[in-house]
Subunit: 339 residues, 2 copies
């Protein structure tokens, strides 16, 4: 259209220089005129580049949070198959920082084009991020945002606000001076996750703003010790017969739900995360509300962010707070994986 060869147009599009001003002008005019946009499909075909992404997330069992997140990653991988995007999944033990650290050298050697990182271990992530910055490998963070990094994108919820909402949900179910319980599961060697701390802060803030006048008991339970927990709970409830509402800030609400269900007692319980076992409790009434985000969407978006950044070269929003979803028995069945 402008009377020059495709080679010249190519030079202009990618401004590789070596083009006369005259040609430049002519071509630019035509580009504007026809509102030219490169055909990304043809480009991807011609480039024939392979994209190797690595995901670094905690290992998981079927139906758990990270399993659902992985579903989203799988979906993204399928969808991007024809763009030669391949995803390598590396898992670490979320209760063992060293298992995370051990993966760092493997990533450096892997010759990958992008990394998705679950931010369980803040310091290690900062270290890894710095290394990736050096290597100019883009990365995406899931779960908690970490300021000192140059991540391409972050996907997670605002923990404080999700706790704040939990505050409202519980508060609306009790009298303004009714005592409540916060349940905690401690596992040997497991440190308190920031996320959980922040949720609790938000929760307490809401109650404080409402001038809530009850007492908040803290009940310590032990992961994987059902019998011991049973007696702790029995003792607690015996001592505090007036307490019939509580909250737990991680995804283990089902352990409590099962306890109350077995006992045939109704208790207003709020928990986090739509994992299969929590959903069962929601359905049988032993959990009243779940606060959640869509892990599948989160996983999908992480991969897509890398893809958009690298392949489509679009600008990706850096901080992406996931919507905070409120699930009850009545709407859980429609909480499908719309990706």
């Amino acid at each position: 259209m402008s009377g020059v060869s495709t080679g010249t147009v190519d030079r202009i599009l990618h401004n590789r220089g070596k083009v006369s001003e005259e040609a430049q002008k002519k071509v630019e005019n035509v580009l504007k005129e026809i509102d030219y946009h490169p055909n990304l499909i043809a480009r991807s075909l011609a480039l024939k580049k392979n994209y190797h992404f690595i995901t670094l997330i905690p290992s998981f069992a079927k139906g758990e949070y990270w399993d659902k997140l992985c579903e989203g990653i799988d979906k993204a991988e399928q969808e991007l198959f024809s763009y030669n995007v391949e995803i390598e999944r590396m898992c670490f033990n979320q209760y063992d920082k060293s298992s995370f650290d051990a993966l760092i050298p493997r990533i450096e050697k892997a010759d990958c084009q992008g990394v998705v990182i679950a931010t369980q271990f803040r310091d290690s992530v900062v270290k890894l991020a710095a290394r990736l910055d050096q290597l100019q490998i883009p990365y995406v963070l899931i779960d908690a945002f970490i300021e000192n990094t140059h991540c391409v994108a972050y996907y997670g919820t605002n923990s404080y606000d999700s706790g704040y909402i939990a505050g409202r949900l519980l508060y609306e179910q009790i009298r303004p001076d009714e005592n409540i319980a916060i349940f905690r599961f401690i596992r040997k060697g497991e440190m308190q996750v920031t996320q959980v701390t922040k949720r609790e802060e938000g929760f307490r803030s809401y109650l404080a703003e409402r001038n809530y006048g009850g007492r908040i008991y803290s009940v310590q339970l032990h992961a994987d010790e059902t019998e011991k927990n049973r007696s702790i709970l029995d003792a607690f409830l015996e001592e505090h017969r007036e307490v019939n509402a509580g909250i737990i800030f991680n995804s283990r609400a089902h352990l409590l739900g099962n306890y109350f269900h077995d006992k045939g007692e109704t208790f207003k319980l709020i928990g986090y995360d739509v994992i299969d076992r929590n959903v069962e409790c929601l359905n049988d009434g032993s959990i009243t509300h779940l606060i959640a985000q869509r892990p599948e969407v989160q996983g999908f978006n992480c991969i897509r962010a890398l893809f958009r950044h690298l392949v489509l070269q679009e600008k990706v929003e850096q901080i992406n707070y996931m919507p905070i979803d409120i699930l009850m028995k009545e709407n859980i069945k429609y909480y499908n994986n719309y990706i």
Copy 2:
């Protein structure tokens, strides 16, 4: 790999016949061995087909439901640009069936490959669907599912259940015998939408199951007549001072929210749809809950369904109920357009 030419492989892949059994075997073995999947990108490039989709939705103002839905459609169009997908938007007047009917011949003449239809006018949609079935043009329904059609997909919410949930949300805020109000906006010539009827059924069912003992008043208001409504509401609230909770089953909750806000009165109000004006009310406290679905996701998915069906030739789930989202002041700000 199997010693035959690409032409033969092509014949086998598309089973166009004219292939010896021997060649067939050899090629199939290799295909299995390398787990062959066609490169959709290259295919789409080679086919160089243009896809012309038409959307048939009500006309809208900025920030309204259908506007948001259109955002999703825009997004899909952008994303599918390189696949030569083009979308023509046809709008009708949602209060005038004839405006819908008038578009039917235009669609028939338009030589399109797919249609998205908002199901305001059931009979007309059935007629159009039958015509499209004849022409073998796939179509997707939004809003209400209509049984007698062969739509490729349907995206919408279950109206009954979304009303049922509203029942719970309101019930939890009142005493079990406290009187409440259902507000309705009547517009001249506007017929009651099925969706609204179903929501009310669900709502009443919930209360009935709870053995709710209060009275449910029905308050008739008039769209576009603010002054008249003000006096109707003044009169109603004067007569029924005990009523301070209510619901409205369409997206016009903001009209009531504004009324209560102006009056400086607190009233527990539940409404539908995250449209801009409802969000303002949620934020200033004049609406307590909104029940919603993500219109952007819905719009996006409709187009994507046609794309997947026609271009990717994937199987698309026919009935897709959208999640029923519960929005409050505290979580509305995170209700972004994650597509």
